[in-house]
């Protein structure tokens, strides 16, 4: 089985466009009629549903941002009566007030289909044993991949995250072939496997589906080596359903966006202007099939590039690059834009642990950048000279990439808090906002 829904995943661009035109028109009408919050935004902009005749008119619609979702909490963007909804999910709330998203049964079915496409693209069939080690609960990760795995017919292990030794025990006893979790948890499982003296080839894993946080190509190679599998990226956000908005195929060159459900745009984050395909900017999604919580032109804050060139996997849906950073967790330090992923890339290239922490502060009106980096046994020396030289070389490499000088602090291995969910990478003490 190469595709889960070949007639959709390999549809002609004209067919995809026809679906998008038709579904968008109906969706805008549905939202206008049922979501006073968005109707007001449209009226402020002087747009009516009649102005939207297809995808080309999308630019006329107002944007939604995370702060709209907070303002409208909890029911303000709900488009059906709660009696039609069967479930909610919620964001972690790390950036402020929680965002709650609602689902009808149909919404969940379509979401599960999206996740099933991702699992099949990673080589999954009903013969596979799929271990879902994303958190279950309000977080969408566990529920999404669990649903997708059921649709594919895999034997599903709804492990949730944590209890790593038990994860590995089940992996061995039940011969898991696919693992789904956050990349930082996958790296942690890989480390634990090594510590337990288990070789990657002793495991039956063939594929991993990792998402919900930014990760780099270097991290992909580390995870692939430590668990003996091929690592696939999956993208999504609670606001648009959850994981499965876009997923990687065997080519591992960008993630196919499920365009029969979502219209993707790239905009200039400063001006809001739509940019042509191939240009880097902020990713914006419009849900065209969701009934309960249909967001139009939702600004993801993820910076990436869309690629419409044909993919050799046979899928015709547009591909998005791995997010290159988030326009909202982008740090501006001494006037320089800094993405934590840039620092991570240098650390991995130089053989340091990807477990790091960035501390930004402002002392006497000057921004300071401190990076806690875990020392590895290979880099340890009994002389101060050698360790300090390594520290200085690392600071220099980071400076070359960022353009600003960091202060490196070497810390003991495993001393930086490891999450079994999302990692806290940045502590900004400057309080530049609010």
């Amino acid at each position: 089985m190469k595709y889960y829904q070949p007639e959709i995943e390999c549809a002609s661009p004209e067919q995809i466009r026809a679906w998008q035109d038709e579904r968008l028109v109906a969706q805008v009408r549905h939202v206008y009629d049922n979501v006073p919050y968005y109707r007001n935004l449209m009226q402020e902009k002087g747009v009516t549903p009649d102005d939207i005749k297809g995808r080309d008119d999308l630019y006329k619609l107002p944007f939604l941002t995370k702060s709209d979702l907070r303002d409208a909490y909890p029911y303000g963007l709900l488009a059906v009566p709660t009696s039609e909804c069967v479930r909610i999910h919620s964001t972690s709330g790390t950036t402020g007030k929680r965002v709650v998203a609602f689902y009808t049964q149909e919404d969940i079915d379509l979401w599960d289909d999206c996740c099933a496409r991702a699992i099949v693209a990673a080589g999954g069939t009903k013969e596979d044993v799929c271990q879902v080690a994303y958190g279950f609960g309000l977080f969408t990760g566990g529920a999404g991949l669990n649903g997708g795995s059921h649709k594919v017919g895999c034997l599903t292990l709804p492990m949730s995250s944590g209890n790593t030794e038990r994860q590995i025990q089940f992996m061995q006893d039940l011969h898991s072939t696919i693992i789904c979790c956050t990349p930082s948890y996958a790296a942690y499982i890989g480390e634990t496997v090594k510590e337990m003296g288990i070789k990657p080839e002793e495991l039956d894993l063939k594929a991993g589906i990792f998402g919900a946080e930014p990760w780099t190509e270097e991290m992909r190679r580390d995870i692939e080596a430590s668990l003996g599998l091929k690592a696939y990226d999956i993208y999504g956000l609670t606001e648009t359903s959850g994981p499965g908005v876009a997923f990687e195929c065997c080519e591992q060159k960008g993630m196919h966006i499920n365009e029969d459900h979502f219209i993707a745009e790239i905009i200039d984050p400063e001006t809001g202007e739509v940019l042509p395909d191939g240009e880097k900017g902020e990713l914006v999604f419009t849900s065209i099939t969701k009934k309960a919580f249909p967001l139009l032109r939702y600004r993801t804050r993820d910076i990436c590039v869309l690629n419409r060139t044909p993919c050799s996997c046979g899928r015709t849906h547009v591909r998005m690059s791995k997010p290159m950073g988030r326009s909202d967790d982008m740090l501006i330090i001494r006037g320089v834009n800094v993405f934590p992923s840039q620092i991570e890339t240098v650390l991995l290239e130089k053989g340091y642990s990807p477990n790091y922490q960035i501390l930004v502060d402002r002392v006497k009106n000057n921004d300071t950048l401190d990076i806690n980096v875990e020392l590895s046994p290979e880099q340890f020396s009994d002389t101060v000279k050698e360790i300090s030289a390594g520290e200085a070389a690392l600071a220099n490499d980071i400076k070359t990439v960022l353009g600003i000088n960091p202060k490196i602090h070497l810390v003991a291995p495993k001393s930086i808090t490891r999450s079994e969910g999302k990692a806290v990478r940045v502590i900004d003490k400057r309080k530049l906002h609010d």
Partner: protein, 142 residues
Amino acid sequence: MIKQISVFLENKKGQLADVAAILGGKNINLHALSIADTQDFGILRLIAENPEAVAEIVKDAGYICSLTDVLAVSVPHTPGSLAHIVQILSAGGVDIEYTYAFASADADRAYMVFRVSDNMTAAALLSGEGLKTLSEKDLFAK
């Protein structure tokens, strides 16, 4: 030549106390100890019997730790002994990374530990001057 146990310490409260307590708890007697510290981190250097086992204990407690070959020299407990050794090594082109001293059971002698750029050359230079470098057996003989 003897083996020194080198341990990475983060610059935060209680690190040394923690290592000391772990070793004390395992009934390890430390013969010598030295700390190199910077603003950010420290390196604890230890001399103890059965260094391989001690290193394992420290590693198991989660510390980064390695074994380093160092020279131990028994020197007369008199002024000028250290200067003499340093002169021999420097004249022979051997660089000293660091050194520290510890007491010997013999009140007339002290032990010096040297971490040098080239152990073999250093040992040969010293023995040429009648200064014996000690083995673990010599050091820990009861």
